[in-house]
């Protein structure tokens, strides 16, 4: 028993962290929201070069053959830095479900996205993707892109799709869905951690009534509650990464959604009015967390799924 990252995994986390910290991801996200995908696609390629889109692809298919632990390490970093793009769709779902050339292309950094009814009815960022798929009960089809649907998160543009011809798969749609849920959980965890860190920094520096607002107990306790919630979401994420059963990934998603949402509500509240503006960077995470809470299965769906597996066990 050793419930912590290995040295290699820590090194992978550190290298992604240093790449992203230097990549001005806020500017990338803002450009993406305006429909300028250039900087985001360049960042996509740099992260693909680090292996992020190849983690779940087997080595004999030109992938890394890594484990879901590496996947959550990567997605926590993507969430912390609010990296835009269909990462869950490509690096978690499609990297698992597709086969052949399509999977090799994703490992190499092709930008791909998909919709999977009913939980993921629209395809994220289909306007920026090279390959667009639609998963249904009869497998995966290629798809043509329909109408855009604006999201609360301006960096997420969602699209309706029209189905095309059937596409080869590895027939792993259930695993693909669960790994997408797991990756979304890790992204929420990273986003929640970021909001908490930024809120803590802010309340130490903002003064009202002659004191740092972080010295008021009302503020301290709110932020301490976020710390507690995130600390108990994290083990569910890594536990699920070690054994990504439907129950485990659903538990991770519920806990991360709740904890990150608490972080975003609290982060907004302790910032006061400036937190309620689009130009202040906090808005990027607040709106992203709101979107990710319901992405890849709502908390209600995942709670019900946990209960079902517990009762049938």
């Amino acid at each position: 028993m050793k419930f912590e990252l290995t040295t290699d995994q820590q090194d992978f986390a550190a290298s992604l962290e240093s790449l992203l910290a230097a990549a001005d991801t806020v500017t990338v996200a803002r450009a993406w929201a305006e429909g300028d995908h250039g900087p985001g696609l360049r960042l996509w390629q740099r992260l693909a070069d680090q292996g992020v889109t190849a983690l779940l692809v087997p080595e004999d298919a030109d992938g890394m053959g890594a484990t879901p632990v590496e996947l959550v390490v990567a997605f926590e970093a993507l969430g912390r830095h609010a990296v835009p793009g269909p990462w869950v769709e490509a690096a978690a779902y499609l990297a698992t479900e597709l086969s052949g050339e399509a999977r090799t292309a994703i490992a190499a950094g092709a930008v791909a996205t998909l919709a999977v009814a009913p939980h993921t009815p629209y395809a994220l960022d289909a306007d920026a993707a090279d390959r667009v798929y639609l998963a249904g009960s009869d497998g995966v089809r290629t798809a043509t892109v329909g109408e855009p649907r604006p999201s609360v998160d301006r960096t997420r543009r969602l699209f309706t799709l029209a189905a095309g011809p059937v596409h080869d798969t590895a027939d792993r749609s259930r695993e693909a869905f669960d790994l997408a849920v797991l990756a979304t959980s890790a992204q929420l965890l990273g986003a929640g951690e970021r909001v908490l860190a930024d809120a803590v920094t802010y309340v130490k520096q903002r003064k009202q009534f002659g004191r740092e607002i972080g010295s008021y107990q009302a503020i301290k306790h709110k932020l301490a509650d976020v710390r507690i919630a995130l600390d108990f979401a994290r083990p569910l994420v890594f536990g699920a990464a070690l054994d990504p059963t439907p129950r485990a990934v659903s538990a991770a998603k519920v806990a991360c959604a709740d904890a990150a949402y608490l972080a975003s509500r609290t982060g907004l509240q302790v910032h006061g009015a400036i937190g309620y503006t689009q130009e202040f960077d906090l808005s990027i995470w607040i709106t992203k967390i709101r979107a990710l809470v319901t992405a890849w299965g709502t908390p209600g769906f995942h709670r019900a799924r946990i209960l079902e597996t517990l009762r049938s066990a």
Binding site: Q208, F209, R265, A273, T277, E279, V293, T298, P299, G300
Partner: protein, 381 residues
């Protein structure tokens, strides 16, 4: 003890309901924080005013109907039940007008109230400053006496002024006596937002719309005629508005009972047993607010004043609003993140625990003034 409306109150209710059902625009207007939406909301105000429904509680010679407080609450309930547009004139009619009635000169009343009632001139509240949010009394913008011209010269910066991106006039506090302590030495000014030396910078809110603005003052001259109340008495004058804002007038129960009804309709469309309890809770909380308000109205009618109870009120309606909209998003499931009226309402609800005095500050007031608990130490300024 009873909740029975009188004959005349019932007649008033019926008249309001009939007028609203005949006149409320069929579809929603574009957002009032866009130029088109702003203009359409102003036109709606003019329509209300033409039939004396814009400021029902004002005197008859000021476009009003001299409606009692009970009738005002009834009107608001009917207004939101009918799905009528948001009030683009709310800062003026709810926050500034009571002060003009109480502290304004007859000349100021004659000059400012009519265009406020018709929605022709929209007002923005310019109180907060970058360094003076919760601690409003620490504000630094200044007013310098100019005897030669018979007025004052304003300098400094206000921020988060709702509607200011498109509004015509503003009202705010400035430090007119630099030597006086915090709450003393403040003066209440009215000023056109296109005056020489005023710069307005719209600020996009979380939903991307410029719902508020930053306002810069660079040697802006304001004549004595546009000072509200006595110079140096601004804090006392202003605080009568703060009570109004937290208390009843800003967010009457009708807004939330109507939203709870819409939530129920959404539940009928997309029943989800997992969310059922919270739909009921939203209704229950709105109902509690409705009944609580009749208690407030009774006490106000008997000469009481809202006082610290306004803080109780404000925490309740703002947190009820967030919970109600979160519940709606849960019912929307995977569609929740897609733009919709519910999503707009949700995003706006998130600001409720911040504006009109944050809920932390309200809880401090409740603890200190209602429960009598000791104050938390303040820092040195």
């Amino acid at each position: 003890m009873d909740l029975q409306l009188s004959e005349s109150e019932l007649a008033f209710q019926a008249e309001a309901r009939a007028w609203l059902s005949a006149n409320v625009p069929a579809g929603p207007l574009p957002s009032l924080d866009t130029p088109d939406g702003f203009r359409l909301h102003q036109e709606w105000e003019a329509r209300l005013a033409a039939d004396r429904w814009s400021v029902v509680s004002w005197p008859a010679d000021h476009h009003g109907r001299e409606a009692s407080l009970v009738e005002w609450v009834v009107f608001e309930e009917e207004y939101y039940r009918a799905g009528a547009p948001l009030r683009v004139s709310q800062n003026g009619i709810f926050l500034l007008a009571p002060i003009i009635f109480e502290h304004g000169t007859p000349e100021q009343q004659a000059r400012f109230l009519p265009t406020m009632a018709t929605g022709e001139r929209i007002w923005a509240q310019c109180w907060s400053e970058p360094e003076a949010g919760s601690d409003l009394a620490s504000l630094r913008s200044t007013a310098r006496r100019d005897d030669a011209r018979g007025g004052w010269v304003l300098n400094g910066q206000k921020i988060w002024c709702s509607r200011a991106a498109l509004a015509h006039w503003g009202f705010g506090l400035f430090r007119s006596d630099p030597d006086a302590q915090k709450h003393a030495g403040l003066t209440y000014f009215l000023f056109p937002l296109d005056a020489a030396g005023v710069t307005v910078r719209p600020i996009a809110q979380l939903d991307g719309e410029a719902g508020f603005a930053e306002v810069f003052f660079d040697d802006v001259f304001v004549p004595d005629a546009d000072v509200l109340g006595a110079p140096g008495d601004g804090w006392r004058v202003a605080m009568s508005t703060a009570g109004n804002e937290r208390g009843l007038s800003l967010r009457s129960p009708g807004r939330f009972t109507a939203a709870a009804d819409r939530l129920l309709a959404l539940y009928d469309e997309r029943p989800d047993p997992r969310v059922a309890d919270r739909v009921v809770d939203a209704w229950l909380k709105a109902e509690a607010y409705r009944l609580y308000t009749w208690g407030t109205v009774t006490s106000l009618r008997d000469g009481g004043d809202v006082g610290a109870a306004g803080s109780v009120n404000k925490v309740w309606w703002s947190e009820l609003d967030v919970a109600l909209h979160e519940t709606a998003l849960d019912l929307l499931g995977p569609e929740a993140e897609i733009e919709s009226a519910w999503l707009d309402g949700y995003t706006f609800s998130l600001s409720g625990p911040i504006y009109a005095g944050t809920n932390e500050i309200q809880r401090n007031i409740i603890a200190e003034r209602i429960l009598g608990l000791p104050r938390e130490a303040k820092g040195s300024r």
